[in-house]
Symmetry: C2
Subunit: 170 residues, 2 copies
DNA sequence: TTACCGAGCGTTATAATATAACATCCGATT
DNA sequence: AATCGGATGTTATATTATAACGCTCGGTAA
C-alpha cells in the first residue's frame, strides 16, 4: 500500500517498534468502531486520521492542512477542524491541550483518558493508562463532588529515550 | 482601596467566601516572593495579577487586555503576554491549557502544581493539591523514566456548587 | 563623568489557531 | 419527485500569540 503515512513516516527512535503495525491497528480499530457505532469514517476523516498516525508526534492542525492539500485539493481549515472534531468525539485521537495539537489514541476502544507524556526533545507523545493515577484522581473528584466531563493529564519533559541520548551525547 | 478588583468582582457563589481576602493574600504573597527572589513585580505586572484575581474564573489574555486598557492607555497584546509570562514563570498564576486562559495560583509559595477543576457552568477554577494523585503521578513518571519539566492536570465538568444548583433548579 | 548594558516596556506588524455562516452535494426516506 | 439530514465546499473573520525593533532608565564599570 503506497500510503502517505508509510512514505513520510519519520521516527526518532527507530529500533523501538514497528510503526506500520501501530498505523494499521489504529486504522482497523477506527474502522471497526465507526461501523459498530453507526458513524461515518469518511475518506477525509480517514485521511486525517492516517496523517495523524504518520508518527507518534503531536501534530498541529495547520500542519495537517498542509499535508492533506496534495491529497485533497482545496482543503481549508474547516476541512481539518471538522475531521478533528469527529475524531476527538469518537475518541480516536487526543487533543494535546498544552500544545494545541493532536495525536493518535492507541486505546480508542476501551480507555480513552490517559496520561500523556510529551517529550520536548523528540516531540513524541506517549500514552499511559496510569491506573493508579486515574484511581486516585477519581477518588479526589468524588470527594470534591465534581461532575467530570473530560480530563487532560499532560506532562511535558524529556522521554526516557531522549534522556538516554542526552546522557550519552550532550 | 478603590481597586478595580473590588469594583467589578462578580462571584457566582457569593455566600461561600470573602474574596477580598483571596486577593489581598495573593497580592501580598506575590509582592513578598518577588522581593525575596529579586525580581520586579512592576506596576503592569501587579495590575495584571490583580485583574486576574478579580475572580476565580479563568480569564483570557484579550479580556485582560480590554480590562487593562482603561488603566494603561495604549496597552497592546505584548503588554499582557509579557506580564503573563512573568507571572507564570514566578508561579503566581496558572495557565489553564484546555482553555487558553489564566487563573490566579493560591499556593504560589510552596506547591505550584495542582489539580485544576474547571467548571463549565460558572467557569471557576478550583485548585486542589490532590496529594494522592500527585504521588501516584510521580511514581508513574519515575517508572517511565520521564524527566518532568511541567505538568497540567485539568478536569472539566461541573463543580459541586453548580451541580447543587442544577439539582434544585434545572 | 561617561559609556555601556540589560530589563522592561512601547509599538508595529504578522503568524498561528479556530470558528461562523451560508451554499452545495448526495444518499436515504417518503 | 420532494425533502431531509449529514458531510463537505467556500468565504470571511475571530481569537490567540509572537517577532522584531527601538526607547528609556537605572546600575555599574571604565
Amino acid at each position: 500500500m503506497n500510503t502517505p503515512a508509510e512514505a513520510s513516516h519519520n521516527h526518532p527512535h527507530p529500533s523501538e517498534h514497528d510503526h506500520k503495525k501501530c498505523v494499521s491497528e489504529a486504522l482497523d480499530t477506527a474502522e471497526h468502531l465507526c461501523v459498530v457505532r453507526g458513524v461515518q469514517l469518511t475518506p477525509i476523516r480517514h485521511q486525517v486520521l492516517e496523517l495523524i498516525w504518520d508518527s507518534h508526534k503531536a501534530v498541529k492542525a495547520y500542519e495537517l492542512l498542509d499535508r492533506i492539500k496534495p491529497l485533497k485539493d482545496g482543503a481549508k481549515p474547516a476541512t481539518i477542524y471538522r475531521a478533528l472534531d469527529f475524531l476527538i468525539e469518537q475518541g480516536l485521537i487526543h487533543r494535546v491541550e498544552s500544545l494545541n495539537a493532536f495525536v493518535g489514541c492507541s486505546s480508542s476502544g476501551h480507555q480513552h483518558e490517559q496520561l500523556l507524556l510529551i517529550c520536548k526533545h523528540c516531540n513524541e507523545v506517549e500514552e499511559r493508562p496510569a491506573t493508579e493515577v486515574m484511581q486516585a484522581l477519581s477518588q479526589e473528584l468524588e470527594q470534591a463532588g465534581f461532575v467530570v466531563h473530560s480530563k487532560a493529564i499532560e506532562v511535558r519533559g524529556i522521554c526516557v529515550k531522549c534522556a538516554a541520548l542526552y546522557d550519552d551525547q550532550d
